[in-house]
Symmetry: C2
Subunit: 256 residues, 2 copies
């Protein structure tokens, strides 16, 4: 029986770290020297990089001092740098740029990816994962609630919906001229969530942020209640009472 | 520089074995005893299972004596059995049922999956990958050509198009009651093909088979010419002259 190892495996099966692990599994580098985690946040993706490449120098870059403090606590042996990806360039000897669930927030991220690829040395790689879920009900509802409440005219809320990502072909045509190898794919995960409310909680930590941060506490609560109602109507319980959160993500691995 | 290992990696990057490798990577078993490759074909998926689980007894099952002969040549140390999946049941001690790009051909494969899951012991796993590309242009065109030529009334050709797969929710509700853990996802690969004609060649080995096998040689050529014309019109060359073949696939990993 495989009971113990299966249990161990499942215990570490964290829905939020699966995409970066899937991305990492496709990177065709065995012993990179310098690895940079672009938009490292609190260092969870950096931790995966350190585990896969224990011999490498791994650096995390983020624009948030708060995130960097958390990342330094998590990985005190590693260097974390405050910086803006759009103004940053890799140092000589950089073998891997890794960017998990960050690039979609940058204005014109496609041009940023192209510039970063151009700055890499031959054989170095760029590995990117971005949520591509703007057409999913959970994201569409955010825009709908944003447009239909007393907050509808707030300029930050009007600008809070993320644009759709460009199609695969656009990334291919953009990066192929500066890549010796390129692989682009989508994975559509189906996260098993305890309840529709758990979906609300999930997005409070990500794409709901730009809608909620301009609001005061009572307005936030009203926004979340309207959103939760739509979520509960669309994400119906399955046979075991759980709900499935379909979550499409775009992956790019390009070698210079 | 990572040149050598990247080259090695890319050299072994076979588009057709990537889905079973991705499936294998998600199986939460470390040391299964008995592994059965259901619909093993010429043994390429079996070879991946043997490499991942060198200590296991790995058996291949297929209904085609020709495929089994090829599989035995490839893996002479392993056992290959002629049999029909729909009438087959796992022996006691079976820890893993693996099925790559096969189940979609079985009538009512969902019921087969449920029966196989029920027959497994606690902790054993079922791992399945199926193409889910019936709505892709490359597959839609097969049906269109089938309905529009002199062969349109041939009963085998009328029945040659594969039905759409059921939605993720249907597999979840079917298997969840007999699974301690279940993970269902899609990956949409974008295979970089040398030309539109390469897409035709790709499908000649798979979903075009039921359309071509009832035809004589001249009719086959006419069918393929009509199909190739549609493919060339829909799959346009990218910046490097290659074409991208988008290929969605469904993955299921369920633990009893």
């Amino acid at each position: 029986m495989e009971d113990w190892s299966a249990r161990q495996y499942l215990k570490f099966e964290d829905e939020r770290t699966r995409p970066p692990r899937d991305l990492l599994a496709r990177i065709p580098l065995e012993r990179p020297r310098l690895v940079v985690d672009l938009g490292c946040g609190p260092g969870n993706s950096t931790e995966l990089l350190v585990a896969r490449y224990p011999q490498a120098q791994v650096i995390g870059l983020d624009s948030s001092p708060d995130m960097l403090r958390k990342a330094r606590e998590r990985l005190p042996q590693h260097q974390f740098v405050e910086g803006d990806i759009t103004a940053w360039s890799p140092a000589a000897g950089t073998d891997l740029l890794f960017s998990n669930a960050v690039m979609q927030w940058l204005p014109n991220h496609a041009a940023v990816l192209r510039r970063l690829m151009e700055a890499l040395e031959p054989g170095a790689a760029l590995a990117v994962q971005m949520p591509d879920n703007t057409r999913e009900p959970a994201l569409v509802f955010q825009g709908e609630v944003g447009r239909s409440g007393p907050w509808a005219d707030h300029p930050e809320i009007k600008a809070a919906s993320r644009d759709d990502l460009p199609p695969v072909e656009a990334y291919y045509d953009l990066l192929r001229p500066v890549a010796s190898h390129i692989d682009i794919w989508h994975t559509m995960y189906n996260h098993v969530m305890a309840s529709p409310q758990a979906i609300v909680e999930w997005f409070k930590g990500s794409s709901l942020q730009p809608f909620l941060s301009p609001l005061d506490a009572p307005a936030r609560e009203k926004f979340l209640a309207a959103y939760a109602e739509k979520i509960a109507a669309a994400y119906k319980p399955r046979v075991d009472g759980k709900v499935l959160l379909k979550f499409p993500r775009l992956f790019i691995v390009a070698v210079r």
